[in-house]
């Protein structure tokens, strides 16, 4: 999905163009908060800066993506430009392309634009988790378990569930959204605020309900990061059942964009 319609650049003497590492290509965005420079503008801009300056800027952009990822909140392009790219906004596409390449080639991370309308970026791992095979046990985050349960329920219930389904399931797991939980604190806030800001979940009001009711869907981050096929596999183990017996979910998991994104990685195992 990288270079769709970039016109050829005869003027690339100073910049040997290389392939982007299979990352989201941002160059093609047209509607933008700041004026996205055209290819020729970028080209002209690049002539005025040194190679080292461009590299330095893109290294800063990498730093920025890494630190913003500490809290798993997506990066808004507008913030990136304002805080980091700054006076080099005229060569923004080149900078972000290099940053994406570094993230990919050095860190094994993919820069994904999850929201092309609002220009939001997240990092996704190119490498499969080695799980039990890894000699070093990564610290586990109990919230990850909570998130997993919710995503599973939504997926298994066809992609949308009323909030009550989620709360009731959690109650059965000894987590009461109305009470402060030892590990999660304010559960309702974690689920409907933190997970939503991280874009793991969408939490929307169902129109015309009285009293007000909400429903959950997978957020854009979940779509990019979480494998439905793996969830289904896990469900199969859990219920001691063939994953294919959930016909609809099986179809969804193996036809959606979600599964095709995961396919590349699964083969590495």
């Amino acid at each position: 999905m990288s270079s769709r319609k970039r016109p050829s650049n005869p003027q690339s003497a100073s910049q040997p163009r290389r392939q982007t590492g299979g990352s989201a290509a941002q160059e093609e965005d047209d509607d933008v908060a700041f004026t996205q420079p055209s290819t020729s503008q970028v080209q002209r801009g690049l002539e005025k800066v040194t190679e080292a300056q461009v590299d330095q800027k893109s290294a800063e952009v990498v730093q920025y993506f890494l630190l913003k990822d500490q809290k798993k909140v997506p990066v808004r392009r507008a913030d990136l430009v304002k805080h980091v790219v700054k006076e080099h906004r005229n060569i923004y596409p080149e900078i972000i392309k290099r940053a994406a390449r570094t993230l990919d080639q050095v860190f094994g991370l993919k820069l994904v634009e999850i929201d092309p309308k609002n220009h939001m970026y997240i990092l996704v791992n190119n490498l499969e988790t080695s799980g039990d095979a890894s000699p070093t046990t990564r610290p586990t985050d109990p919230k990850r378990g909570l998130l997993f349960v919710i995503l599973s329920v939504i997926f298994m219930k066809g992609g949308v569930v009323r909030e009550n389904v989620v709360w009731n399931t959690l109650k059965k797991l000894r987590v009461d959204p109305g009470e402060k939980h030892d590990e999660f604190g304010d559960v309702k806030k974690v689920v409907t605020d933190e997970f939503v800001r991280q874009r793991y979940l969408e939490f929307q009001r169902i129109p015309h309900t009285e009293p007000v009711e909400h429903e959950f869907r997978w957020g854009q981050r979940a779509e990019a990061e979480v494998s439905k096929a793996k969830i289904l596999e896990f469900m199969g183990q859990l219920h001691d059942r063939d994953p294919q017996s959930w016909t609809q979910q099986y179809k969804e998991a193996h036809s959606s964009q979600n599964s095709s994104q995961q396919a590349g990685g699964s083969s590495q195992r």
Binding site: Y64, L67, K68, H83, T102, G108, L127, S130, A133, P135
Partner: protein
């Protein structure tokens, strides 16, 4: 030697990101695991080359996998560190500004202390003199727990020390910022917090506890390596590496 990174290097780096610090034995096993997972060539004795390859690519981001010794057990550790302070790095949100202020105060006190330790009472008292938004006692407690959990501090019986991870990352900073207070180990030349000090007032060299253990091992009468005076402190045992 190949300077190109492969998935084995990336996996190693990712594990370093997730863990922050890893002991030498762990790094060796991880090295093997990463190479095998991605069918890369595995040379057991080339761990440091393997890490150098990663470091050469991390350099533009001012990151590094750096080796250092634990003052606690004398073992070698590898930590993934940041080496630059700029507008971008200060945007990190792991800790709030007032939490960082207290952390810095704690560093001031630890570096200035005799034994590199700080009691929770001292920390609470220093929280009273904060200039940014003051932290409540319960918030200080919570912060201390987080700092220990995130491996920036170590805690033993209510006393806090800088963790190995923290010392490895902050060493250059501490050397520059606390020039006249910082202690340096006479044996390994790294900065020292928990150490023994020669009691000869004209000498006064410092040696890390584990370095003392190694240096004096098997010597019948321990003498200061600098002034030859008798070394009056208790000589600790050399701590063995965990075998695997």
């Amino acid at each position: 030697m190949s300077r190109q990174m492969g998935d084995s290097h990336r996996r190693f780096l990712q594990t370093m990101m997730a863990n922050g610090i890893i002991d030498e034995q762990g790094a060796k096993t991880l090295h093997q695991h990463c190479c095998q997972t991605h069918n890369a060539q595995y040379a057991p004795d080339r761990l440091d080359d393997f890490i150098d390859t990663i470091n050469s690519k991390l350099q533009p981001m001012f990151m590094q996998i750096r080796k250092g010794m634990s003052e606690d057990n004398g073992h070698q550790y590898y930590a993934l560190v940041n080496m630059v302070e700029n507008d971008v790095t200060r945007m990190t949100s792991d800790y709030a500004d007032n939490e960082l202020e207290l952390f810095r105060k704690m560093m001031d006190l630890i570096v200035g202390s005799e034994d590199g330790k700080l009691s929770s009472i001292d920390i609470l008292n220093s929280a009273d003199s904060m200039t940014t938004k003051k932290l409540k006692k319960s918030e200080v407690e919570h912060l201390l727990n987080r700092l220990v959990q995130d491996k920036w501090l170590s805690e033993k019986r209510g006393e806090y020390t800088l963790s190995t991870r923290c010392i490895i990352e902050m060493e250059p900073y501490i050397r520059t910022m606390y020039q006249d207070q910082v202690k340096v180990c006479h044996i390994c030349h790294a900065i020292a917090f928990q150490c023994q000090i020669c009691e000869n007032p004209t000498c006064g060299i410092k040696i890390h506890n584990p370095c003392v253990a190694r240096y004096f091992k098997g010597r019948t009468e321990p003498r200061c390596p600098a002034c030859e005076d008798f070394w009056p402190h208790e000589i600790p045992e050399v701590r063995r590496l965990r075998s695997q």
